[in-house]
């Protein structure tokens, strides 16, 4: 029972972005993927979500090979995600943005969506109530009908987490969720992530900010130059000489 990638290699022209990388997340576990800029974190994230196709290696969900599946299929199988730069309709309401998250769980036909008094119509009230409950739980906005564009960056990130949770995922993949947000929002976000893991979701955090990840994750994976250089308990990974060298720019620790 896990979401795992194994033997992932991907090259962009002559540049080796990932070289035989393996990473896995189990239900209820928070895994932090750290590394300096250009280490291949986002590329690995894209391989897991289906945005990028690796040249070698496999992605497996609960033992089933999903390497060939496209992004929208993986979402329906239970891989929820957020974006590094929040992606949403800023002119639309906060409630509508969260309600979009229910889409993968609904099997609604276009005809049903068009007709009055249809099944789609009856679920609409229920979806609206559930979205409002999520907005209240995450303290996203006092007024769910206010435009999403009025939220701060931190709240937009939280909104993306709420939207991803609305799709009832088994695994939640977060791309740089803590980048550029203030301490209050960061605490709210950390709490949301802990709650999600507490409910049995596997969480993969891709982060630049080692401190935030070390505090939150059960296990950490450090990626440098497209290869896994350290893996294990947060304290061990943070203290690993290669990780320190990569972050502090030291060329090589004297042997």
């Amino acid at each position: 029972m896990s979401l795992s990638a194994s033997g992932i290699s991907i090259r962009f022209g002559g540049l080796v972005a990932l070289n035989k990388v393996a990473v896995s997340v189990s239900p209820g576990e928070i895994v932090g993927l750290v590394g300096p800029n250009g280490a291949g974190k986002t590329t690995l994230f894209n391989c897991l979500t289906g945005v990028a196709q690796p040249q070698e290696g496999h992605v497996q969900l609960e033992g089933q090979d999903i390497s060939h599946l496209r992004l929208e299929h993986r979402v329906r199988l239970g891989i929820g995600r957020t974006f590094q730069t929040p992606r949403l309709d800023l002119a639309g309401s906060v409630a509508d943005a969260v309600m979009l998250g229910f889409y993968p769980r609904l099997r609604q036909s276009i005809l049903s969506a068009c007709l009055p008094f249809s099944a789609a119509r009856r679920t609409e009230d229920e979806l609206s109530a559930r979205a409002r409950a999520l907005i209240a739980e995450f303290r996203l906005a006092a007024d769910p009908d206010s435009p999403a564009g009025e939220l701060s960056l931190g709240h937009l990130r939280l909104l993306e987490v709420a939207r991803a949770l609305a799709s009832e995922p088994r695994y939640l993949l977060l791309d740089e969720p803590a980048a550029g947000i203030d301490d209050v929002d960061r605490d709210l976000l950390a709490q949301a992530i802990r709650n999600a893991a507490g409910r049995g979701l596997g969480v993969l955090l891709v982060e630049h900010n080692v401190g935030f990840v070390a505090e939150l994750s059960h296990r950490m994976v450090a990626l440098v130059g497209g290869e896994v250089v350290a893996e294990g308990k947060p304290a061990d990974v943070v203290g690993d000489p290669q990780v320190v060298a990569a972050y502090l720019g030291v060329q090589r620790v004297a042997a």
Binding site: V51, D89, Y103, P104, C114, S128, A129
Partner: protein, 334 residues
């Protein structure tokens, strides 16, 4: 506005406006034919409003899809003796199928390229109709199409039948935009990667709606040929498609009623303006002026919000209402 009010506001406006104009038509009978023209344009423009305004997918082929529907029905009724009540089915399905097949490769193109590709599609259809020999009636077209079933040739009944179709499309459009499918289409316009990440099958959704739009245009073509009794390559063509896009953009592509308002504006302006050669100048100027003032057209979300503001102020003390709403939501969770 409550959810039900938002669902039924646009259909109610259509019904009210239709009744008023038809009653005025008792005094001035030419209004009945004007109403027919507006309804025809509205029927072709409404689905374009949906795929362009909500889905960000432009099309300059709506007029040509209407022509395909009209020709299909004309050929089947005049050559094969099919009654119009039956020929309506292929008149809708043929343009829809055509649109669905070509949609997949072209709908991934950016807006301008898509406009050009759909424009050239219209040109290809026009050339096909002109060079179709006896089968399509060549440059002369086809005449002798029988009148519409049940309503016959009575202009009032024809207008009622046509506007019933318009009303149905408005009802379905209003419901669609406030559904999970409608939100998915909105996500496609905002950001295709976002839509995919939300589990939306973007190519299939766009192709389906493109086909539905073409099918509804085909239905308008069917109304056209069986009311006028005649169809030629110039009746519904690339120029019609451009006019339809003008109506959608001017009236408001984001609003359900935008295309209808645009169709009404275009038709009335055509009737009252002297000299056809000045029309282009007039429409061009109006379009530039409106888009400068309101980039989303006359019925834009911003313009509607301004109209609603005086009513919103009358609502009782907002700050107390907000915590209550949250409390309600919390109860809903428990």
């Amino acid at each position: 506005m409550s959810r039900d009010a938002r669902l039924w506001a646009a259909p109610a406006v259509v019904v009210a406006a239709f009744i008023v104009v038809m009653l005025l038509g008792l005094v001035r009978p030419s209004l009945h034919t004007t109403m027919f023209t507006i309804g025809l344009y509205a029927l072709i423009a409404l689905p374009l409003g949906l795929i362009y305004g909500q889905g960000g997918t432009i099309s300059l082929a709506q007029g040509s899809f209407a022509a395909v529907g009209a020709y299909t029905s004309a050929i089947l009724t005049t050559r094969y003796g099919l009654p119009p009540a039956l020929s309506v089915i292929p008149a809708v399905l043929l343009p829809a199928a055509l649109a669905f097949v070509i949609a997949r490769p072209i709908l991934r193109l950016p807006e301008l390229s898509l406009a050009l590709v759909t424009l050239s599609l219209g040109t290809v259809i026009a050339v096909g109709l002109q060079r179709g020999g006896d089968f399509t009636g060549s440059y002369v077209g086809l005449s002798g199409a029988p009148p519409l079933p049940i309503v016959g040739k009575d202009p009032v009944l024809v207008a009622i039948a046509l506007w019933t179709a318009v009303l149905l499309v408005v009802v379905m459009y209003s419901h669609f935009v406030q559904s999970a499918r409608g939100r998915a289409l909105n996500a496609i316009r905002v950001d295709r990667l976002l839509a995919e990440a939300m589990g939306v099958n973007v190519p299939l959704d766009l192709a389906t709606l493109f086909a539905v739009a073409a099918g509804i245009a085909g239905l308008a073509g069917w109304f056209y040929v069986h009311s006028i009794g005649y169809i030629a390559p110039d009746s519904l063509n690339v120029e019609t498609s451009a006019h339809i896009l003008f109506m959608v953009v001017l009236g408001g592509r984001r609003a359900v009623l935008g295309p209808i308002l645009g169709a009404a504006f275009f038709t009335f302006a055509n009737d009252f303006l002297p000299g056809a050669e000045t029309h282009g100048l007039f429409f061009g100027t109006i379009l530039v002026l409106i888009l400068l003032l309101s980039p989303d057209g006359i019925l834009s979300p911003q313009a509607l919000r301004v109209l609603q503001r005086p009513f919103a102020r009358r609502a009782p003390a907002e700050p107390t209402a907000r915590p209550a709403a949250i409390a309600d939501a919390k109860e809903a969770v428990q």
